[in-house]
Symmetry: C2
Subunit: 337 residues, 2 copies
DNA sequence: ACAGTTTAGGCAAACGTTTGCCAAACTCAA
DNA sequence: TTGAGTTTGGCAAACGTTTGCCTAAACTGT
């Protein structure tokens, strides 16, 4: 399968050996100088080698380096479905923060499937990745094993199913409570909360926080809690809204524990002639960047996804140094529309 | 910096040598069997080694393999800003298609900056990536060099600035023309097209296709073409809409060459009391998945992003085998709302 | 029985690093 | 002059693969 060119290999470029040969020194000397150990060679040698490095554009080959030292400058992000704008926002901010740290990100879309998550965990491990960022983790054997081994893992949005470990997210109960306050202030008296049929801890916290706060502040009021089935939050929101009954039975305010669920509810409302807002005031959580542009009907608790990346990277660094990194809860804020 | 455990290295697991030692054969034999060369050993040996491989969960270390053979099972995707849902859709479908091919994807967010694009191109090259997927490429020296070397690169959405190479996208002129037909059918008589101040070839084609078709079908009608400045298409759409003048001068139909621009226009319309649709009928291109849920006012040319991934991977494979992969134009379809 | 062929499997080099260890050569003081 | 200490830099192993080449031993056919 050889090609025309002698070395069409993509990675082909100056190696330590090339520089060494040209400089008339040994590979070790070049390696040391390239790594900044300037006191291991005479000033003349250092100068010569540095010049050659610059001229040839030499950069140490990360693959050789990985093999030797087990350091790869590689971090794996496992995320369920990138189509969710919230995931994309997390991925984007993490990528940027990693780049600043000289690391690159491998993106793995697990589609929320434990088997795929496991496959990726194994594959990434054998690539010497330096850490994992697992967004909305699902329970899986390999994840349990990795946690057990103490691999550097940062959980995002959803906590580890296997005991308290590094976590970056928001205070979900409080977010739910803030949403309750918002609906209370808007005069809602017949509140509801919707959620996907399969409850994650994140969603549960949001809903519980909402219900508790609402019922505490409005004695005598009961919050309806309605589940909807669906492969994603859009469908789940639509289904849950469908289960709210005919339009006259609809609540006048609804917690949607993610913006996508609110979108699902919106469509159901449109189909039933329920005015949103007006008849029914939804409040979301996430505050997708598009809301400001095309969902002026949706107040939402803004989750500071752009701030996640730097904190995630920070966490990862602590972890790799053996310090246990605890939970980082970032501040959220309700955006009224 | 040593830890408590003897080998806390993340990648630590059975190697060829371990298996070989245990089986009492040489490393080469294990390697051959692991790679399916079953005729290079006696059935008994094969059986024994395969059993051990299964037991120990041995998988060849991709790093060693890369170093040796220059094959890394790694592909780099360079994309500007993941926040754009279209990019996220492309990334998601490409990731899935690559996984099916046993390859993992490194995601690089170039923020549309030539310098960052170059930095990533270099970094990825030295990691032996097997190919590049460049979404909406910008011109940059390193890209030119890579194209010159004949590196496997698939351009997505926007063609190579350096001559005709592998490309996956849609027929942008035709998409524009289809949008024109749609507005004509809806009775639009005072059409406009908006676009970002800095024109990419993609956007230019869409706008030109629209203008040509509209003016050809509606003799005597001139399409207003208005630019808007902004860091992203949302802002650019908003700015361009702002430049349309007071509401009574607004066109009754507008081509927005991306959905994000349509969202920008929508906001501007809302602020001015222009009813959308009603007073002004926008047509987008992309058909973001969220449109169906929260933008019932937006007809849009659907770009089949989920189909991009498999074609991109196919392209990459051809390229790596030395066959020149041409342009792949995927079918689009207007979605009326 | 013997030459010829196939089969089974080991050796060693190569990919590009990093780093512990060793050895010259030099410096300096007594 | 000698001995100790420092500077400078090379050697070689190790990381985990793959693969060309080699060599026995085991077959095959006459």
């Amino acid at each position: 399968m050889s090609r025309i060119e002698p070395d069409r290999r993509l990675g082909a470029r100056a190696s330590l050996a090339d520089i060494a040969a040209e400089a008339g020194v040994s590979v070790s000397t070049v390696s040391r100088i390239a790594n900044g150990a300037l006191d291991r060679a005479s000033p003349a040698t250092v100068e010569k080698v540095q010049r050659l490095i610059a001229e040839r554009g030499f950069r140490p080959n990360p693959v050789g380096r990985s093999l030797r030292g087990g350091e790869s400058q590689l971090v794996a992000m496992l995320a369920p479905n990138l189509d969710n704008p919230a995931m994309a926002a997390i991925a984007a901010s993490t990528e940027a923060a990693l780049r600043d740290a000289g690391t690159v990100m491998i993106l793995c879309d697990t589609h929320d499937r434990p088997d795929l998550q496991d496959e990726y965990l194994r594959a990434m491990r054998s690539r010497f990745v330096e850490g994992f960022v697992v967004v909305s983790a699902v329970a899986s054997p390999e994840l349990e094993a990795a946690v057990g081994r103490g691999d550097p893992i940062v959980f995002v949005n959803r906590r580890s199913p296997y005991g308290g470990l590094a976590f970056v997210g928001i205070d979900n109960r409080k977010a739910g409570a803030d949403a309750a306050d918002h609906l209370l202030a808007r005069g809602v008296r017949r509140p509801a909360a919707i959620h996907p049929a399969e409850l994650s801890s994140t969603i549960r916290d949001r809903v519980e926080g909402f219900v508790e706060r609402f019922e505490a502040q409005a004695p005598g009021v009961r919050v309806r809690v309605v589940a909807g089935a669906g492969a994603n939050h859009l469908d789940a929101g639509y289904a849950a809204a469908g289960a709210l009954g005919p339009s006259e039975e609809w609540p006048d305010g609804v917690l949607c524990p993610s913006d996508l669920m609110a979108y699902g509810l919106y469509r159901a409302a449109l189909e039933r002639g329920v005015r949103v807002p007006g008849d029914c005031e939804p409040v979301g959580i996430d505050d997708n960047a598009l809301n400001a542009w095309i969902a002026p009907w949706l107040s939402s608790v803004r989750v500071p996804y752009p701030a996640f990346g730097p904190r995630i990277v920070e966490c990862l660094r602590s972890l790799r140094q053996g310090e246990p990194a605890g939970e980082i809860l970032l501040p959220h804020a309700l955006v009224r529309r």
